[in-house]
Structure formats: C-alpha cells, structure tokens
Symmetry: C2
Subunit: 316 residues, 2 copies
C-alpha cells in the first residue's frame, strides 16, 4: 500500500516509516520540520519506496496535491505538537498542530476517497482518571490542551467514519521513549547533565509514576492492531504494564552517565500545569491480540537514556 505518514520526521514517525518500508510499503512523509528532523529519516534516503515532503499538514493546497499525486491507501496521522507543557501559555499551539492537522487530514481523505486512518492518540485524553484505565473509561476530561486536541481529533475521526465509510485505528498511548526522541524528561536530564555533570535538577518531587513504552514496542503494537482489528473504529490503549517513577528515571540516567551526579528535586506533585502525576493503564485489549512489550518501563527508560546521553555528548 501507499501510506501518507504525517509527522513522519518526528520521533515516533521515523521509526514507523523505517518499519513500513522494510515491510514493502510505499511511504510518503509530510512534515513541516518544526519538531521533526530531516536527519531522523536518513536511513531511508535513496530508497525508491520513500518520499519526503517538507510542508504543513494544515496547508490545503499541499495536501490536495499530495493526495492527487499518490492516491494514498491510508494515512498514518502522527503530526502534532509533542511538547505538551508549552501550550499552557499559548493554547493555539495544540489547537493548530495537534487538532487542526487531524481535521485537515480527515477532510482531505473525504475529498480524495482515502478510506483508512491510523491515529496516534494519547493517554492524556483520560485526564486525571485513576485506577487501571480501560478504553471505555468515561467521562473524558483532559486537563492539558494536548489531551483535549487529541480527544477532539478522535471525535471527528469517529464522525468521518460515520459519514464516509472511512475506517480508523486509534492508539492511545502514554510516554514513549527511545532513540531520536526530541523532548521529554530523559532528554531534559541528559541535556542538564551535559551542562552540569555533577548535579541533576528534577522538576516536581520525583514521585510521578507512569508507564514508559519503548518506541519499537509501540510500532509493533500499531502495526499489529492495523492488521488484526477490523471494526469501523478500532480504539486501543498501548503501554507497558510496569511503571517507572521520575525518581527512578533520574537514577537510571545518572547511572548510565557514570553515576557521579547528585539528584535534586524542586518539589511539588507535578512538573508543569497540565501534567498528570500518576497514570495506570489497562492494555488487556492489545495484549489479547498477542502483543507484549519486549522492554518493561525501566528497560525502556534505560535504553532511551543511553541514546540521549550519547546524543547530548555526555557519554561517548
């Protein structure tokens, strides 16, 4: 098939594109390179099955030209503002980059008759829900604009399915880590250690505890769901069953950096407004299809820490 991957130069997108091309699919990436990096897709350069287009998903003429030229069988829609904390001061960031991109993609699919979409949603749609959150949790009261924009995207995906015979796969996942990550706590810790090798300042009190998923495990889950789920709207959680605290994450990063830095906590129960201090997650559905992550949360964090420390110049 020929797939449009929006945000394909982003952290998750570049991994997904490599796997798709390896499986024999034709991949067209549309990315405005605001958060994505062209270099992330270096491994695919020169591959006849791969095309990179620098452009904005919200630019309708760009999108129309792409859909007309490539007659996509599917869209894997990953383009979004991936820096959740930034939009407290400017909610228009998530309105445009996280929500309106979804609307733009859906309306292009309608105009051009593209019938399948895979959407990268988020555990942030569940807001401050507690307990092991299942896909049918309600009500959905996101506290970040990022979560709101993803939920708003899901809403219109659902109505486009209802109106135009489109089918959808919606993956809700929490923090994903791994190589080529461009933001997040591990990335921040590595940069801080590059600047001040003997001290690591951590936002919050370190007690935030979440599941972390390695990007390779996420890509496996996305493609397994794509191939095996067949409802009009296929909504599923993906995440590790184990969790890792920010405290443990900081320790792992310091261990991987050589173990000499002192860790200092700023205090408070969360790092920034819109963050959710504790997340647990029910992944029974995707596991029932045969998926399980190869790395648990601490393992994923450690693998990501090694890469981030190397990228930041802390380790050789």
């Amino acid at each position: 098939m020929t797939v449009l991957v929006t945000g394909g130069a982003g952290f998750i997108g570049c991994h997904l594109c490599e796997v798709l091309v390896a499986r024999g699919e034709r991949v067209v990436v549309l990315d405005n390179l605001l958060l994505g990096r062209r270099a992330h897709l270096a491994a695919l350069d020169g591959n006849a099955a791969f095309t990179f287009v620098e452009g904005d998903v919200n630019d309708a003429p760009t999108l129309d030209a792409l859909f007309a030229e490539h007659r996509f069988d599917a869209v894997f829609h990953l383009a979004a503002n991936s820096d959740i904390a930034v939009s407290h001061a400017d909610p228009a960031v998530d309105f445009d980059a996280t929500f309106r991109t979804s609307w733009s993609v859906l309306d292009a699919m309608r105009r051009h008759g593209t019938s399948r979409i895979l959407f990268a949603s988020t555990s942030a749609v569940y807001g401050e829900a507690t307990g092991a959150i299942r896909e049918d949790h309600g009500p959905l009261l996101p506290i970040s604009h990022y979560g709101a924009a993803k939920l708003a995207s899901e809403a219109f995906i659902s109505s486009f399915v209802g109106n135009y015979g489109i089918r959808a796969w919606i993956a809700r996942f929490p923090n994903v880590v791994g190589d080529r990550s461009t933001h997040g706590a591990i990335h921040d810790f590595a940069r801080k250690l590059a600047a001040t090798p003997d001290r690591l300042q951590v936002l919050g009190d370190g007690s935030q505890i979440k599941p972390y998923l390695h990007v390779d495990d996420l890509v496996d889950a996305l493609l397994l769901a794509w191939e095996t789920m067949d409802a009009p709207v296929n909504l599923f959680n993906v995440g590790g069953t184990t969790r890792c605290s920010v405290r443990r994450m900081a320790e792992i990063v310091v261990e991987e950096a050589g173990g000499t830095a002192e860790i200092a906590y700023a205090g408070g129960d969360r790092g920034w407004i819109g963050d959710v201090p504790s997340v647990d997650y029910d992944t029974t559905l995707i596991r029932s299809l045969g998926w399980s992550p190869r790395l648990d949360s601490e393992g994923a964090v450690r693998a990501a820490a090694r890469w981030a420390l190397h990228a930041a110049g802390v380790t050789a």
Copy 2:
C-alpha cells in the same frame, strides 16, 4: 451577573435569555442571525438589562470588544449549527459553527479572565450507544459531525478548566422542542402539512424513538445545575424519561392539525446519515438535584406541534 449568551437569538437561546433577564441578570446576546432570528428576542427589546449584538462568535475583534466592554461574569455558549443533517455534505459547517465557536469563546475567556461557562452539548456525543446512557459512558464515538464538534468542544472546555481556573457546566441533551423552534421533525411536518394538507410524508419508517424535552423544562434544568453543581467540570444529561416515536409524533401533529391527513413512510431505519435510530438516556444525576420535566415526551411534542402548526399557518 452579566452573561454573554452566544446564539441567544436561537430557539433555546431566546428562552434562556428571557428567564435570565426575568431573574435580574444582565444579558448580552451575540448572534450572527444565520440560524437565529432577531424577532425571537422581541419580548426583551427595550429592557435595560438586555443588549443584542449581531456578529459572529468566530470574529475575534468583535469578541474582544464585547468582553472588554461588558466584563462578563459568565458565558452561556449556545451558538452552533443546529441543523445536524446538513453537514454530511459539508463537514466544515459543524467545524466552524459548532466547534470553532467554542474554541473562540474559550480563548476569549482566557484572555479576559472570565471564569465560568455553561455549554449546550448533546446526546449526539454518545453516538450509537445503546441502553440507558449515563454521563460516564465510554467510549464516545459520535457518528454525526454535530456530535463530534460538541465533543471536541467539551474536550477543550475541560483543558481550559485544567489550565486557567475556569469552571464549566456541560449539559448533554437530546431533541428539544417548543415554540420558536426553527428546525426539526415537528417543524418539517408542520411545513409539509401547510403545503399538502391531506398527506404527510415521513422520512424513515417512523420507528425511531427518542426522548423529547420541552424547552422550558430544559432551561429550568440548565439554571438548576448552574446554581447547585460546583465541581470544576459539571457534566450532566438532561432529557425526558419517556420517549416518543416518529410515528407517534406524526400522529400528534396530524391530530393537532385537525386529523385529516394521511401519513406515508419513506422506509428505512433512519431519516438521514448521522441520525441515531434509538436513544435512551439516564438522567438520574440532574433528577437527584430536584429537577423533573413538567411535560413528558408526548406532551412536549404536542405543545411544540401546536406552536409549529400555528407558525406554519396550518391552524389559526
């Protein structure tokens, strides 16, 4: 308090404004009169507590000027595309009029420090859910763009609450009927009888069965919730516990018209794409606050039919 009522010239808005002014509140209506009608607010003309402004909620300069001038204590956000069926052919109608208006209002509230919003949501957020639907129903898979746009609005209301100390009241209600209604099946039936008094053509097979709420009962529920619920986000269903089929509605309209027309059904289980054939509804929460509708579904339909037949010139 001083309240901005968006869509205040619409069917529900005009009733709400009359009650608010009667209770001593200052009311400013912003309505673009695309669906609302200036004449609906005739009873308030000349009242010093009432101001009408013709303008579009999505026009930021208009909104900024209004917020700066009136320093609203609250926004009752009712502006929307109320004709659900139209947006199958053009989803941008609900994107702009039903969703983006909500975004525009929320961002103006953030910029001007307005801290309370009451939002007219819909049972359409529940999609084709079956059984007695509670507020915590999930997953939410709307099949109409109208339902999607309302759910997307709820999502951002929730994140604005999470970010800026805003508080919200979100009412999810199904079909509302009564005087000054400008669309819907009763309205259509009355217009058809005005054109062909001896025959009433009905879309679908008449088996669609839904709760109908009289607009006066809805306004009571909205203001009771506003005064008694005090969570950051107060989400509640409103609706009658009884239901009325389209067949019974057609019979009531014909009875009120004089009882001579023959009723003919077009067949199929729904009237148009995006319609939901059967809706049931759990209103335990709002009833626990002391609310109950004065009219049941058939009573509400009959009261609305009398007004619509008179407005259409069928009855004197």
